[in-house]
């Protein structure tokens, strides 16, 4: 039972991550390689605020969101005015810088040793101290996020983002402020990613920088691309796929040491095939063209 709940929690966390990355890839047409950086910022911000300043979970999560949104301005203001290629390089670079900070700034983040004993969150006086309660919490938070995503993406804002994805130049000659909208989309996706980070930190009670690497960004990217970008159900399908896959490998008794490498090979291979033959993924709408 606990195993099932564990999966449920991880799936909720990754649902939020993939839906938020989808705002960039599927709706704005921006391929970002730094999503796990914001995931990490949310995780560390929440953990540190709860442990060092004894802020309650809800306040910490909100501050984490604000921090992510603010930090997202650095890569976005820098590179969104320029060619696509600069954006790729900037997001990769930003990911690496954030990882470096998490790994090397021992005073703040405890570096490679990570942060342990992250306390259980408390919501409205109820201490979330069992897996079941956490599963309820994560499902509730996911549901709120999901409703927000739905609202945002079916609104004029979402429609305008799609237009930008299709033809930026046309959108700007129709009066849309493309640059400003892209920055907003980027900030939105960063904010939601940090919610996932907060959930992750409080569930695992331990975080270290190795959960927030470029590989992790690619993992989230895989979830979006395999499931398909551009609509709501694609990333959900993809997330379930990439979360279930390692479990299948485990049930085939493949040792964990190999499993990490094997997973990357499988996802990478799948992406290669999908990009070539079915860029809209399993259930998506947008063909990344």
């Amino acid at each position: 039972m606990n195993y099932f709940l564990h999966l449920l929690i991880m799936i909720s966390i990754y649902f939020i991550l993939s839906l938020s990355l989808n705002i960039l890839i599927g709706y704005s047409g921006l391929v970002s390689f730094c999503h796990s950086a914001f995931y990490g910022i949310g995780a560390y911000a929440t953990a540190l605020l709860m442990m060092k300043l004894h802020f309650p979970f809800t306040i910490s999560i909100i501050i984490g969101i604000a921090l992510s949104v603010f930090i997202s301005l650095f890569p976005s203001l820098l590179s969104l005015r320029l060619k696509q290629d600069y954006f790729y390089l900037t997001t990769i670079g930003f990911q690496i810088i954030i990882f470096s900070i998490l790994y090397n700034w021992l005073g703040l983040t405890n570096g490679p040793y990570g942060i342990s004993d992250i306390p259980n969150p408390s919501i409205l006086g109820i201490k979330i101290n069992t897996v079941l309660k956490f599963a309820l919490l994560s499902t509730a938070i996911f549901t709120i996020c999901f409703l927000l995503f739905w609202g945002i993406l079916s609104s004029p804002f979402g429609r305008t983002l799609k237009a930008i994805r299709e033809d930026e130049l046309l959108a700007s000659t129709l009066g849309k402020r493309v640059y400003y909208l892209k920055i907003t989309a980027f900030a939105l996706s960063a904010g939601f990613a940090s919610v996932s980070g907060a959930l992750f930190a409080c569930y695992m009670h331990y975080i270290d920088p190795t959960s927030f690497t470029l590989s992790e960004s690619f993992f989230i990217l895989s979830a979006v691309l395999i499931g398909g970008a551009g609509n709501i159900r694609g990333p959900l399908i993809g997330t379930i796929f990439v979360i279930i896959m390692p479990e299948i490998l485990r049930s085939l008794h493949i040792p964990d040491s190999i499993s990490a490498n094997l997973r990357q090979i499988i996802y990478g291979f799948l992406i290669l095939i999908l990009m070539r033959f079915r860029p809209q993924g399993l259930g998506g709408e947008y063909k990344l063209q």
């Binding site: 609202g151 945002i152 079916s154 609104s155 004029p156 804002f157 979402g158 429609r159 305008t160 799609k162 237009a163 299709e166 033809d167 130049l169 046309l170 959108a171 700007s172 000659t173 129709l174 009066g175 849309k176 402020r177 493309v178 400003y180 909208l181 907003t184 989309a185 939105l188 551009g230 709408e285 947008y286 063909k287």
Partner: protein, 266 residues
């Protein structure tokens, strides 16, 4: 009333003078026609007015303001509307969505508008939906409103992009090869529309090779060649001039043979 004025516009590409000291002015309610051979710089001029290109020299005055530093989106919001030669549309969106996007809206830029302004947003969306359907009827594509834009024929895509311009709201319409790719039927639907817009005080500037179609509605004609305006005049007497007729003999026969204008420096 002069709404748009170009003063001494020059644009060079690698040493070639695409636009060479062009000065023109356009009045409200006027329909102007710019003709000339391929590569004369007509589309480049449009791109400069719309803000896609910056002139190397010269000023653009719109509604008595210097707008050289205005970005594309600002010019668009203030009424300058460009119709691309290539019939640009949002391919993967359906027709209705294409037009809905084009409506100017203060809710476009706010991701949380649906929370904050729920009632007003819904009202505006309904309004826009009605207007969009009206526009689709106007261009005869109401039945296809849920088709993906990329599934339309070239002519239909052109009509769609015209509808989007109308949805956006235009004071000055820059129409680049409007009739290219449109069937005579479609042309006869559009032209009265343009005339009505002009009567309502909008300014229309046309680049055309298909002169037959537009001669009736154009007030003024400008002849552009090698980046310069070589002749201008009211339509009636313009085409009586000998030098114009010889220039056009070549161009006219090209358009009769339906040779599409070359995409290039123009």
């Amino acid at each position: 009333m002069t709404i748009l004025e170009l003063r001494g516009i020059k644009k060079y590409f690698d040493g070639i003078r695409a636009v060479d000291n062009v000065s023109l002015s356009f009045k409200e309610g006027e329909i102007s026609l710019i003709v000339g051979p391929n590569g004369a710089g007509k589309s480049t001029l449009f791109n400069i007015i719309a803000g896609l290109l910056t002139p190397d020299e010269g000023e653009i005055i719109y509604k008595n303001k210097l707008i050289n530093h205005w970005k594309q989106w600002k010019r668009a919001r203030e009424g300058i509307s460009l119709l691309f030669q290539e019939a640009r549309i949002f391919k993967n969106l359906n027709l209705l969505q294409n037009i809905l996007v084009a409506f100017p809206s203060q809710y476009d830029e706010n991701p949380f508008a649906f929370l904050i302004n729920f009632g007003k947003l819904r009202h505006k969306e309904r309004e826009n939906l009605d207007k969009a359907e009206q526009l689709l009827s106007l261009i005869g594509l109401k039945g296809k409103s849920h088709y993906k834009a990329e599934d339309l024929s070239f002519g239909e895509q052109k009509l769609l992009s015209i509808a989007c311009l109308l949805a956006k709201g235009a004071e000055v319409l820059l129409l680049d090869e409007l009739t290219a790719g449109l069937s005579p039927q479609m042309v006869s639907t559009i032209l009265p529309l343009l005339k009505k817009l002009a009567d309502d005080g909008k300014t229309i500037i046309l680049i055309e090779h298909n002169l037959q179609a537009v001669l009736d509605i154009a007030d003024i004609v400008h002849f552009m060649n090698e980046g310069r305006i070589v002749a201008s005049g009211p339509t009636e007497e313009f085409f009586q001039r000998e030098e114009i007729q010889s220039f056009l003999a070549i161009d006219f026969s090209l358009s009769l043979l339906n040779i599409p204008p070359k995409k290039g420096v123009d």
